[in-house]
Symmetry: C2
């Protein structure tokens, strides 16, 4: 077993309203910053032991499907790196 | 002016309690997943026009300092890429 870190990034699907991101963008604009768009995402870094990077990615995907993301409104992607 | 996307990742500093991450980890364990640790982070993707990648990074850093991160409890890092 090797130690891996799987990074799961959970984003709202295009077209799903994100009032928090809109508020953040407006607050930045009120502070004088000029920006075209702001999107927010949640990241989960999972430390786990697995036989291979593929195995770690598969388990992270299962966790995303079961709990971390809501497939109705979220997209997610997964990156796996061997833990240092 | 070129269009850039600056990705600001905001993490809790080591030692700062993260009850939400602990709850998520426990929920995953209750679902039968085995993991050593779970950390969460917030990501902001900022679309902005700037003269150079350095200029975009500098402005993203200012936004992190002023609003996106709380320097008392957060660390952040910034990656800039030219928008497609």
């Amino acid at each position: 077993m090797t130690a891996f870190t799987a990074t799961v990034t959970v984003r709202l699907k295009r077209g799903v309203l994100d009032p928090e991101a809109e508020t953040t963008q407006r607050s930045l604009e009120r502070l004088g910053f000029d920006l075209n768009d702001l999107r927010s995402a949640d990241v989960f870094e999972l430390d786990l032991d697995a036989d291979s990077a593929d195995d770690a990615a598969e388990r992270a995907e299962e966790m995303a499907e079961r709990l971390l993301a809501n497939p109705t409104i979220h997209d997610y992607d997964i990156e796996v790196a061997q833990a240092e």
